[in-house]
Amino acid sequence: VEIQPSSKDRSGEVADSDLVARLRERDPDALGAIYDRYAHAAYAVVLRITHDRGVTEDLLQELFIRVWNRGREFDAGRGALGVWILSIARNLAIDHVRSAQARFTQRLAPVEQVDHFRPASSAVEPESVLDQARTVRTALSSLTANEKQVLELAYFEGCSQSEIASRIGAPLGTVKSWMRAALSRLREAAKGTAAV
């Protein structure tokens, strides 16, 4: 994903927390700014999952309506808006593609369950999620083809490790090994960006 936050974002003039505060006041311009900041990344993720531009546009509309309607509940001081938007975008897309499969719909709960507005540490800066995603992409380029494949099947298609093993015809133990290595690399990359 080409991350292109606005110039105001790059200069830090408008933080996510400010936009969320205006969103709670029902300011449509705030939603426009949030759209400008995260729509392209969310659009790319949803399109990668659905492979359908029409569906992607519908889901993106649904996503930002959800942002608008739940703005009052958002605790800007404690949440990472970008994380939440990208996670919900992915969940909406996979849920759409696999809507007939109750298992996935049921297990997409984690983002909501842990309260996406409650950060593990300090509040995330406006552009940090997108910048980190870009940095992580570079870091993950060192993964082997198999490690990258299992990671993409889990993220973009919501496949469990058993489903991945069945899909690519590899032993479950081997898939778990690839997944373990890929996630370890992901954690390292995430820590590296956090340190920066």
């Binding site: 994903v1 300011d27 999620v129």
Partner: protein, 298 residues
């Protein structure tokens, strides 16, 4: 499962792809307020969100922004002052005016559309009427064709019956031809003996021809008329023993008959030829007194 064992599972849980029973264990921890798991999962949600960077670089369509914002703006925009309210009211009036003009145009278009559809409907009705007329004409022709087929079928059946009769007639004529051929062979043979019988013209009379090969031809005139269930039967009477049948025959309406008996060598030993009246199908031995007896030996 301990927290250490869960360490590598939080990202899978955050992605929604963790399988049982690990999924339920972590879920239960969080539901019960486990700070460690909640923190780890939140961190995992954030970490896995970075995977969005794996998607290809694609820019959202420009019109999608308008569409998204339009879906929330009209019902949510706050009115901040009387000035802006009046401006908004004016804008609303302009919008309503625009909508009225648009509606008028739409109504005009609808009327045009209705007119066009009405014209098409009338045209279709005309076509349906024409098709109905054509269908009626076709039905009438079909009925005529049926009648013609019935007549031709009847004619065909008649012709078949006539053909069967002609075939039977042909068979009968072939038999007659065979008999006549036999008669000619017998009569034309130089060694054939001719034995007349009956002296007067008003009584049965005629000739019997017997060839050297055993062929016998009976020629009779003034023969008596027979009942429908009766026939004449020719007999070859040997010097000793019972008479042997030489076949059956019927005279025509004038009492005339020419009959050729099959050529058998045994016929040469016969002492006489006799004719008796027998049942229609013939008899194995004479049942009546012979009406004609012609001695073959002097």
């Amino acid at each position: 499962m301990t927290h250490e064992e869960m360490f590598e599972l939080y990202e899978l849980y955050a992605l929604g792809v963790l399988e049982e029973p690990a999924y339920s264990e972590i879920y239960k921890h969080i539901e019960e307020g486990c700070e460690h798991c909640t923190s780890r999962v939140h961190s995992a949600v954030k970490t896995t969100s970075y995977l969005a960077g794996l998607a290809e670089d694609i820019t959202a369509p420009r019109n999608l922004r308008r569409r998204v914002l339009a879906s929330v703006h009209p019902v949510s925009a706050p009115v901040r002052s009387w000035t802006s309210a009046l401006g908004g009211l004016g804008a609303l009036c302009l919008v309503l005016l625009g909508m009225a003009l648009w509606s008028s145009n739409q109504a005009q278009r609808m009327r045009s559309t209705v007119d066009a559809l009405t014209s098409q409907r009338d045209d279709l009705r005309g076509r349906v009427s024409t098709l109905n007329s054509e269908r009626t004409e076709l039905l009438r022709r079909a009925q005529e064709m049926h009648a013609m087929v019935d007549a031709l079928t009847s004619q065909r059946n008649d012709l078949r019956a006539q053909m069967q009769m002609l075939v039977a007639e042909r068979g009968r004529l072939r038999n007659q031809r065979g008999e006549l051929q036999t008669v000619v062979n017998v009569v034309a043979n130089a060694g054939t003996r001719t034995l007349p019988f009956g002296a007067a013209n008003d009584v049965p009379h005629g000739r019997v021809f017997i060839s050297p090969t055993g062929g016998v031809v009976f020629v009779g005139l003034q023969l008596p008329q027979l009942a429908p269930d009766r026939t004449f039967q020719l007999w070859l009477v040997p010097a000793k023993g019972p008479p042997r049948s030489g076949g059956v025959f019927r005279p025509n309406s004038l009492g005339e008959a020419i009959y050729a008996s099959p050529a058998l060598s045994g016929n040469l030993n016969a002492a006489a030829v006799a004719v008796s009246v027998e049942p229609r199908q013939g008899s194995p031995a004479p049942t009546t007194k012979p009406v004609i007896v012609v001695p073959l030996r002097s």
